[in-house]
């Protein structure tokens, strides 16, 4: 018996396959792109190949994330909030608060024994998401993945006053030309983002253990800045991008086993890897 979680995020699509015992058989990540309706099956195919499985082998499939409605072979859709809660809990059993910072949104989740109990989200303003760092990295001519390491060398934090990501871009360029050191500017940028995310978290109330996930969690400078902003310890999973898909697979397992135990029939979708279509027509 095998289970799948498919997380179609706004920037990355992730698939996790597990066995009945919850062991990870494969995890695949790929860019979502603009045509995410086309890509779900591609990523799934890769995941199946890696685990040497066929689509028919999967007993239950949960789709989550921004594009969850566009996974035709998924048996049900669950929000990424509940999935993250489950996924994070499987790695950190004492987690009570999780913060996920993605490319285009930021979410805080209150968790009780792996169950989502409350949440707040920001998806209105890029300045409170990973996009803020991407844009400013480009403006500074550095790689996003190097930002964190460089920022740790800072000797002071430069205040970034612009609230808007686009204007912050101009501001950092101006700071460089004024002779400010790159590492200090980066520290300021991390601090600005951390403050905004901390404000989001405070609406929920932060309770330890606090876990950080999402692409931004791989940024060591952000983890530091978040620790300072929230004044508490932060745990980061080894694979911070796949907690949503992992949670989806765990929930798929639970839902299926619960139905089996109760002797209930579960409705499932056709096990066919087709592209999502409009009006029932195939797209090439």
């Amino acid at each position: 018996m095998y289970f799948a979680g498919v997380d179609i995020g706004s920037t990355m699509t992730k698939v996790v396959l597990t066995d009945k015992a919850g062991n990870l058989l494969s995890t695949i990540k790929g860019p979502t792109g603009a045509e995410h309706r086309q890509l779900a099956n591609e990523v799934m195919r890769q995941a199946l190949n890696e685990a040497s499985l066929q689509i028919d082998d999967i007993s239950y499939i949960v789709a989550t994330g921004y594009g969850r409605l566009n996974v035709p072979f998924a048996d049900c859709q669950i929000t990424e909030l509940s999935c993250h809660a489950r996924g994070v809990h499987s790695r950190f059993p004492d987690v009570r608060t999780a913060i996920d910072i993605g490319g285009q949104d930021a979410k805080c989740m209150k968790i009780d024994n792996g169950r989502l109990v409350n949440f707040v989200m920001n998806d209105k303003c890029a300045a409170g998401t990973g996009r803020f760092l991407e844009v400013t990295a480009t403006a500074l001519g550095i790689k996003l993945e190097d930002m964190g390491d460089i920022s740790l060398k800072a000797t002071k934090k430069v205040q970034i006053s612009n609230l808007c990501t686009i204007f912050a871009q101009q501001e950092v360029v101006a700071l460089i030309s004024r002779g400010e050191k790159l590492e200090n500017i980066l520290a300021g940028l991390h601090d600005a983002l951390a403050c905004r995310i901390a404000a989001l978290g405070r609406r929920l109330g932060i309770e330890p253990d606090l876990v950080l996930t999402g692409g931004v969690a791989k940024n060591i400078g952000m983890v530091k800045a978040m620790k300072e902003s929230l004044d508490c310890e932060i745990l980061v999973p080894e694979e911070p991008l796949i907690t949503g898909a992992l949670g989806g697979a765990i929930l798929a397992n639970e839902i299926y086993m619960k139905a089996v135990a109760a002797g209930e029939a579960l409705s499932t979708k056709a096990r066919r890897l087709e592209k999502a279509t409009f009006f029932g027509e195939e797209h090439r």
Partner: protein, 447 residues
């Protein structure tokens, strides 16, 4: 490196300083009195309606709206804003309200009623009651209601009728407004008496009402003098000197004397053609709330020859009216307060300028104070001080050929106002003002 001292181009009125100082004095005296155990009330700006009652009863009043501005200017509002956000108040709300709500949460929930040690100028103590006002915006009375979450103190929202401009002239309407106002005020007096445990001194109220009216009449006359060319008094002096008239800050007899001194000084300047800035090239009207934290910005504009001749309708005294035949002080107070709201209605109706009660006065200001342009300052969390601005801009250009420049800011998020950006727009706007001056000349205007 030579440190350049900031040049003060604006020629400030000497008589402004004691009026400005009086605000600080009063505030500090108030803080002392409160610390010595005198009861305090948190009040909203209520436009001459509730303040005289409290003054006659000798009650200390703290204005959270002002405290919000102080907190913002001193850079300590952020923590209160964050608290309010954490409490679940949406961030689009008035920055002053969020500051107060965050402050109240900190004081009551965290510090069990003790004034927060980080609060500047003595902070705001837990009040005896909250006096809010319906005038100008919804937030002001809803905010005080929301404070009930942190403090079990009674709230009295003062009514402030706001009829339609045409509707106001329906027979009997004014009398109905006065009737509402007087009854309401009488009930408010009874409420205050119960709260402080002493009766109103009606003689004192009579005197207070008269002084309030007279102080504002003189203050009105001072501002009429600013019609002269060059304009003898800059907006900065208006904003510094207004609290004694608007909030009845300090001793009213003293205030009257100081405003009379100011009248003399301004008249003197008019007679000697002395302007508020060395070289008046442009006369401007400003709307609505100034960037309190960046007033030096106006000196930079003054260097370019921008003289601000008139401003902020919301802060100006009502057009004087004769209330000498009205014996009941509550009626005098009500009528005077209503005058602030409806004083311009007659003119507004005649000119068919119906787009908002605070909009028409700008037409009158631009015309009578001979303004070349309007500087508009919309504030992202203060909708009531910003909503009328697009209409004002539209109306000024359409009816008077006076152009407007809009520069955004906020009441507490000071990062939103960028003086450098604003100054960069000044030069092109001067070209616009020059152009429209020509147009106005061609059309036969006298300025």
């Amino acid at each position: 490196m030579v440190v350049q001292k900031e040049r003060k181009t604006i020629n400030r009125l000497k008589s402004m300083y004691p009026l400005r100082a009086k605000v600080n004095e009063t505030y500090l005296k108030s803080v002392e009195a409160i610390q010595a155990g005198k009861p305090a009330v948190w009040g909203m700006l209520n436009f001459y309606y509730g303040d005289p009652i409290l003054k006659a009863m000798d009650i200390e009043v703290v204005y959270p709206e002002n405290y919000g501005a102080i907190a913002a200017a001193m850079g300590i509002a952020q923590q209160y804003l964050e608290r309010a956000d954490a409490e679940g108040f949406p961030t689009h709300l008035c920055g002053y309200s969020l500051t107060t709500l965050g402050y109240a949460s900190r004081m009551m929930k965290e510090l069990k009623g003790q004034i927060p040690p980080e609060a500047p100028i003595g902070g705001m103590p837990k009040p005896l009651f909250l006096m809010s006002s319906a005038a100008i915006c919804d937030a002001r009375y809803k905010w005080f209601q929301a404070l009930g979450r942190y403090m079990d103190v009674p709230v009295w929202p003062l009514e402030a009728p706001l009829p339609g401009i045409k509707e106001f002239f329906i027979e009997g309407h004014y009398d109905k407004m006065v009737k509402l106002g007087v009854k309401h005020l009488r009930d408010f007096v009874a409420f205050v008496e119960r709260m402080v445990g002493k009766k109103m001194d009606w003689e004192k109220l009579n005197k207070t009402a008269d002084l309030m009216i007279e102080v504002n009449r003189v203050w009105h006359e001072v501002n009429e003098l600013r019609k002269a060319t060059p304009c003898p008094m800059h907006s900065r002096d208006f904003w510094s000197a207004m609290p004694a008239a608007l909030f009845l800050a300090g001793d009213l007899e003293d205030s009257l004397r100081l405003y009379q001194d100011m009248y003399k000084e301004v008249k003197d300047r008019v007679d000697n053609h002395v302007g508020a800035i060395p070289d008046e090239k442009y006369r401007l009207v400003f709307a609505e709330l100034p960037p309190w934290h960046s007033l030096a910005f106006f000196d930079r504009l003054a260097e370019r020859g921008w003289n601000f001749a008139i401003e902020s309708v919301g802060y100006h005294p009502p057009i004087p009216l004769d209330l000498s035949e009205v014996s009941d002080p509550l009626e005098r107070i009500t009528k005077f307060s209503l005058q602030f709201l409806v004083g311009y209605y007659e003119d507004s109706r005649k000119q068919n300028v119906l787009g908002g009660t605070t909009a028409y006065p700008y037409l009158k200001y631009a015309k009578e104070w001979k303004c070349d342009g309007a500087l508009l300052h919309p504030l992202i969390t203060c909708r009531s001080a910003s909503t009328h601005l697009p209409y004002v801009s539209d109306m000024l250009i359409e009816k008077l050929k006076v152009p407007s420049l809009s520069i955004e800011g906020d009441i507490v998020d000071l990062r939103l106002f960028n003086p450098e950006d604003a100054l960069a727009r000044a030069e092109p706007f001067e070209e616009t003002m020059d152009y429209y001056r020509e147009i106005r000349k061609q059309e036969g205007s006298d300025w």
